[in-house]
Symmetry: C2
Subunit: 381 residues, 2 copies
């Protein structure tokens, strides 16, 4: 079976995602669409609006055949690590093509991604307190490519091209032009809206406005909807009961950020205020949100190292009959460690899914919905 892979967050899944899956299946001549999807925490450093099970269901009922969880240690990382981790999983799953969304744009993506990007050598920037890493990176790309690449999806596409070039057997890159509206806009008549716009509607309680942007029943939003507002009391608490120096083991807590976090927390009454107070020229909001996420989840550098070095199982969240057939084929021919449930052994503190289980426990506390041990895989007819 010919497999086409997609890297996604589906936060939440919408008509644009369904369109992308249809296009990809056709253009890649794929027998099976394999999606690697962020678990309960997404790349911009926040909890997904609904849990991974609801989001996997949205995808499986609208074009995906097999949904795999992108583990926390990858999904909560900057674009380059996010892309590299996700591509390694798609590679292990024998995907031949990677389909991904790009803006309708001025770029010649084919040339850029397949010829230029793999040959670019990522520079090591010296510490610069007046520019974010992202800005320095964009400056570098402008110098090399003659044009700035600033939209998140453009950067992500470049990151995919890079990561892909590192694989022994790179996948075929298949950029799919997005349709509908720009990533963050909300057009009042179209049936397409960005995930960001849809999240805003959902969190504002305007559930009925969302119906025309999504291809599934709104009952999939019946669990508690999550945002940083739900995590803030716990972050605030965690910083309140800590000494600043106790924050240093937190992953990415460097360059005095522990003092900044600790001090500004005491002046903050909500997460937005906190984020604005800790913001500086040196760090993007995404970097700081991810750091806040590591803090509220008490994720240390040692946790990330452990979750990255042990032989990580590849976790299936759900499939339909096509996905199931492909899984069977993979299990016959492939060495990938595929699992469909979290055993007590995998999920214990020293187990290879220990971190995953631990970070999901906060989601369980907030929603009351079991995320791992007693949760059944999703099977769609």
């Amino acid at each position: 079976m010919k497999a086409c892979g997609v890297i996604a967050e589906y936060n939440p899944f919408h008509n644009g995602h369904a369109y992308q899956l249809t296009q990809a299946r056709e253009k890649a001549h794929a027998d099976v669409m394999v999606v690697v999807m962020s678990g309960n925490y997404v790349q911009r450093g926040e909890p997904a609006i609904v849990d991974k099970w609801q989001r996997a269901r949205m995808a499986l009922t609208n074009g995906a055949d097999l949904v795999i969880e992108l583990p926390f240690a990858i999904s909560s990382q900057p674009a380059d690590r996010f892309a590299a981790g996700a591509l390694q999983i798609l590679d292990a799953l024998n995907c031949q093509t990677l389909a991904f969304g790009v803006e309708k744009s001025e770029f010649d993506y084919k040339t850029l991604l397949n010829e230029i990007a793999p040959k670019l050598k990522r520079p090591q920037f010296t510490v610069n307190y007046t520019k974010t890493y992202a800005t320095q990176w964009n400056d570098f790309l402008e110098e090399k490519l003659g044009q700035r690449i600033e939209k998140p999806n453009q950067l992500l596409a470049l990151s995919y091209a890079y990561a892909n070039a590192q694989l022994d057997r790179p996948l075929e890159l298949l950029p799919i032009t997005r349709i509908g509206v720009a990533h963050d806009d909300l057009n009042s008549t179209a049936s397409y809206a960005s995930a960001t716009a849809i999240r805003q509607l959902l969190l504002a309680g305007e559930m009925e406005s969302v119906a025309r942007f999504v291809p599934y029943d709104l009952s999939l939003f019946s669990d508690k909807l999550l945002s940083w507002q739900d995590l803030w009391p716990y972050l605030h608490y965690a910083l309140n009961v800590s000494w600043p120096q106790e924050l240093t083991p937190i992953y990415q807590m460097s360059e005095g950020l522990e003092y900044r976090f600790w001090q500004q927390n005491q002046k903050s009454t909500d997460f937005d205020q906190f984020l604005q107070l800790v913001k500086s020229k040196r760090y993007t909001y995404a970097r700081l949100r991810r750091l806040a996420l590591y803090t509220v989840l008490q994720v240390t550098a040692a946790d990330i190292t452990a979750a990255s070095t042990v032989d990580q199982p590849i976790r299936v969240l759900g499939f339909n009959s096509v996905g199931q057939a492909y899984l069977r084929e993979l299990r016959k021919n492939n060495a990938a460690h595929l699992i469909t449930k979290v055993t007590a052994d995998l999920g214990k503190p020293s187990g290879s899914l220990g971190l995953q289980v631990r970070v999901d426990r906060l989601i369980e506390q907030l929603t009351g919905v079991e995320q791992n041990f007693r949760q059944h895989i999703i099977m769609i007819k």
Copy 2:
């Protein structure tokens, strides 16, 4: 001026406390009544129902002349350490008498406290997994005294007698027989009820029922009323995002209790359930509640050591004109480090009130009421 000291929690202050202060002043021929009162966390391992400022005000308007804060590192300890720490403060404040409540009882308190108790040698018990420390201690007392001493206030009185005997210049002990009802009972016609019974009424929202048991305006209960129910989400979270071994630095977290706490947390949906699940023959509920309190406040053994060894300032919460005159006298003749406000220096992480400020931050988060830096001392005309 002749000072009589009282060690109290006033959680909350009630008519029985007012009676005790009147009796003590008269019997001790005291010019000034000095109260050392637990701050925002009390000895049974929970937050006080209202903050230390409201409780100091209750006392100062009803018989106390000077209210001093008993620091967290003392107030959250078992009876023997609680008594020893509080007595050292009263001693430093030149109190000549210690007045304390005792049950109307069969004991000859005068002989017991002044002659027998100071001579008892506290035994070191070997670890016994079938009896709590308290039970072993009671067995020992029964052997020495010929009678069991089991009520909390009887044990506390004995602890006072012990601790007092350790002082270079012991205070005169003045037991005051409690009036009204037994410690935990609620008599429907009397004007006396125990603090426990009053807390239950308050937390059940039966504010008006409380009026006849307290000698002050009920508006002193206008802040959020606190109980373990308010702390539970944070304890649950803190255990959810931890590995068991990360709990070992917590003060008193020994003998595998970190695993017990960590595992039972995952089965618990409220604090009562959690406490019942972690209970064993070896530990009293009070010990486990205190351990849960150290955990939610992330108080380590090192924190307690630091707060116990540095030269602790004695913190005034409030006074009336008599108390103020006494403070003036103390400042002239006495070396005690008396403070009436928490400076930035005292309250910083390495400052001698750093721990106090840190544990109070959770109270500030829950109530929205400043507890330290910008809080003014209470002055009653």
